[in-house]
């Protein structure tokens, strides 16, 4: 029998062994296959993609003749707020804000009309009680929208009044729409993206990439560390098996499993969640293949540097944590300072998210460098894992 055939036999031994071991652990299969599917479905069903409007309370000056109907003010908020109540007790409203019974308190100026006629600016005080920086920004935006709407309404009314006065003095009607005076320009939307922006469609490929990387890393991180600790490595040392055969055998075994799970998750994503796949299945398969290759390398490297199963699990979780923060899954990679971005680019999932979103949502991968980075990471991690494995296998002192 030729050396190549024997080499194939040795590599195939791992494919059979690893797949059999996975099959013998139904709990693991359930976690690894159904888990990602469940995450995907829950994400699709549960994520609405819109933040709930702030609950607001309007405080009017005492004795004001302003409307007390919440619906009147609701129109000015563009649904950024839900006006719950209109009252006159400022302190009581602020107490409710402090107790987080309401999100916003809007205090109307006492003498707005007189100040306007006197040519002075009135101040609308808006209070909120937020520690979340995102909510803080959204509250500020809600305030600006409301004030802008109010200003437009004042201009509109003033314009209508002015047009009427001007028409009376000139003796002929002035044909100007007060709305045009209040809003001389308006924008018209034209999104030329090949797919409709949708929360599920946008985040679906990102969740898919993250699930796939985590699956591959988790599967492999424990694989070699267990064999090193059990003494199995000595059997490998005595046998004719070499490090490349061992590593390739593991890659192929776990790679096959990851691809099957990926096919199920991708199918569910496109079929049931309606995520577009404009780039087609071949492109999707290519990206998944590269992402799997790089992620398996990361997991195997963890397996080769960890000195216990516990440490391997900890390192896997650390990779997951870093992936959530730095991969562009939650925050754009460009939002990080350049010195920190290499952390993002060192993670396979970063390039997986970028390329999957482009392929599935735009129909083409424009960031070809990301494909190169994914392939480079895969090859680099393979080489590092191989060198580390050789060092372990040949360590005899």
């Amino acid at each position: 029998m030729t050396g190549i055939l024997k080499s194939l036999v040795r590599m195939s031994s791992f494919i059979g062994k690893e797949l059999r071991e996975l099959r013998r652990r139904p709990g693991v299969i359930a976690t690894l296959v159904l888990g990602p599917l469940l995450v995907m479905v829950l994400f699709g069903v549960g994520y609405v993609g819109q933040r709930q409007p702030f609950s607001a309370e309007i405080v009017l000056p005492a004795g004001s003749n302003m409307p007390t109907d919440p619906g009147f003010y609701q129109e000015m908020t563009q649904d950024r707020m839900t006006v719950q109540a209109v009252g006159t007790d400022r302190d009581a409203a602020l107490r409710r804000l402090g107790g987080e019974a309401v999100d916003l308190v809007v205090v109307a100026p006492a003498d707005a009309e007189a100040r306007l006629r006197a040519g002075e600016q009135s101040v609308i005080e808006v209070y909120w009680n937020q520690v979340d920086p995102l909510n803080d920004g959204l509250a500020r935006l809600a305030m600006q929208i409301m004030v802008s709407e109010l200003n437009q309404e004042i201009i509109r009314r003033a314009a209508a009044e002015g047009i009427q006065v001007a028409g009376g003095e000139l003796g002929e009607p002035v044909d100007i729409d007060p709305n045009v005076v209040a809003e001389p320009t308006r924008g018209e939307e034209h999104n030329v993206a090949p797919s409709e922006p949708a929360t599920i469609a946008f985040f679906g490929p990102a969740v898919f990439a993250l699930v796939l990387q985590h699956l591959a890393v988790t599967l492999t991180a424990l694989s070699l560390v267990r064999e090193r600790l059990s003494g199995q490595m000595d059997r490998y040392r005595v046998s004719p098996l070499n490090s490349s055969e061992l590593l390739v055998g593991k890659y192929v075994a776990y790679g096959l499993f990851c691809l099957v799970v990926s096919a199920l998750v991708a199918g569910a994503m496109v079929t049931f969640l309606g995520v577009p796949n404009l780039g087609g299945w071949v492109a999707l398969f290519g990206i998944v293949l590269l992402l799997t290759f790089a992620s398996l390398g990361l997991g195997l490297l963890i397996s080769l540097v960890a000195d216990s199963e516990r440490q391997a699990v900890q390192l896997s979780m650390l990779v997951l944590l870093a992936s959530v923060f730095f991969s562009g899954f939650v925050l754009p990679v460009e939002d990080f300072i350049p010195a920190v971005r290499p952390v993002a680019y060192a993670l396979p999932v970063t390039h997986g998210i970028a390329t999957l979103q482009e392929s599935m949502l735009r129909g083409e991968v424009r960031s070809l460098w990301a494909i190169g980075a994914l392939a480079g990471l895969g090859v680099g991690l393979y080489v590092i894992a191989l060198l580390r494995l050789r060092r372990i296998v040949h360590r005899v002192d």
Binding site: E21, R228, D234, R235, Y236, R237, V238, P240, R395
Partner: protein
């Protein structure tokens, strides 16, 4: 000290750590398969193997016997190429173990001391996996798997996951995995540990069958009585090779001669035999029982009887005494330890120390068995 005769200097026929200048004792008569010359293995300050030299010929079972931490596993690991020596050289199949060719590795098998197979795989799948590791092709595998599992009496249990097998069955499964690719050199570390006596016998039968087919085996055991199954016995203590002999020669050498057990009708003073020609020493395990160490049991028997009768003591029975291997082992080890004390060597404990590569070590990268 068990035997007064054990205080005698070691006979020349017994090997100590053989100095490199002296001829290396050979186990067996065929061409050499395993050779060690002046091999030392140190782990920092701990000496696991000290100056061991031996040669093992083809078609031989060498029993490596010694207490826990005596260096048995370290020697096996060095010869199987999973550990390097600190000093000296080794060869197996004419090759340096750390640089075995693939062809050489295909002819070698290693059975580790601890169960290291895959608990989720069945017995058959485990053997299948190991056979593939050694390059056995798919088409010839099922026959070999059946043969190796049958040999260790596990064919009926072939579909049971390894985790559901008893400790003894797991040891036999390890052995089946070591046998499946029909190796010519086997390193078998504690194959009978934790196994009932009946099964131990059958495992040794299988090892001897392999030997009869021309295989060369190095087998470690803590059961001193199993020395009888080996062709040659290497006795280790604290990393030192104390003796390398056939089991019978070892027994004889251990006590400095042949033993006679004498039963008398009344209590007897052992001093009466002190001056009898051919008697080298006497021990008295009971008031009417004497055990004499003789140069030759046949010629010493009538002289002993005469000497006792001259004192008015009737002998009810006199017969050759077969000392147990445990006694033999104890005598040899104790004698060597006493010699060390006389030589002023530091006594570093009763059982030496477990080397990092020995069982109990937690080093993920060097743990072997």
């Amino acid at each position: 000290m068990l035997w007064d005769v054990a205080m005698q200097p070691l006979p020349q026929s017994l090997a100590r750590s053989t100095p490199s200048a002296t001829p290396v004792p050979a186990a067996g008569d065929g061409p050499p398969v395993m050779e060690m010359e002046g091999v030392w293995r140190r782990y920092d300050d701990l000496v696991a193997v000290r100056d061991v030299s031996l040669t093992i010929s083809e078609g031989t079972i060498l029993g490596l016997i010694g207490p826990s931490g005596s260096g048995k596993t370290t020697i096996i690991r060095m010869l199987s190429g999973t550990l390097g020596p600190s000093e000296g050289w080794l060869k197996v199949l004419g090759q340096v173990p750390l640089r075995f060719t693939r062809e050489a590795r295909e002819r070698i098998a290693y059975m580790p001391q601890l169960f290291s197979l895959y608990p989720d795989l069945t017995a058959s799948e485990n053997v299948n996996f190991v056979s593939a590791l050694f390059g056995v092709p798919w088409w010839g595998r099922s026959k070999l798997i059946k043969r190796s599992l049958s040999v260790v009496d596990l064919w009926e249990a072939r579909n049971r996951p390894a985790r559901d097998l008893s400790g003894g069955m797991q040891r036999r499964l390890e052995l089946a995995c070591a046998l499946v690719h029909n190796p010519r050199v086997l390193f078998v570390d504690e194959p009978t540990a934790g196994i009932d006596p009946m099964l131990r016998q059958s495992i040794w039968d299988e090892l001897r069958r392999l030997r009869d087919e021309g295989a060369t085996l190095m087998v470690t055991t803590q059961y001193v009585g199993e020395a009888v199954y080996a062709d040659r016995v290497a006795l280790l203590d604290r990393g030192e090779l104390i003796a390398l002999e056939t089991p019978d020669a070892l027994r004889r050498s251990a006590f400095g001669g042949e033993l006679l057990q004498i039963e008398t009708l009344r209590a007897v003073d052992p001093e009466v035999l002190r001056d009898v020609a051919g008697v080298r020493g006497v021990r008295q395990p009971g008031p009417r029982t004497l055990i004499a160490v003789t140069d030759d049991a046949g010629t010493a028997s009538p002289r002993i009887m005469d000497a006792l009768r001259a004192q008015g003591i009737e002998v009810s029975e006199i017969a050759e005494y077969q000392a147990s291997y445990d006694d033999m082992f104890t005598a040899l080890v104790q004698r060597r330890r006493d010699e060390r004390k006389e030589d002023g060597e530091v006594d570093d404990g009763d059982d030496g120390g477990a080397a990092p590569g020995d069982p109990g070590s937690t080093d993920a990268e060097t743990r072997a068995s």
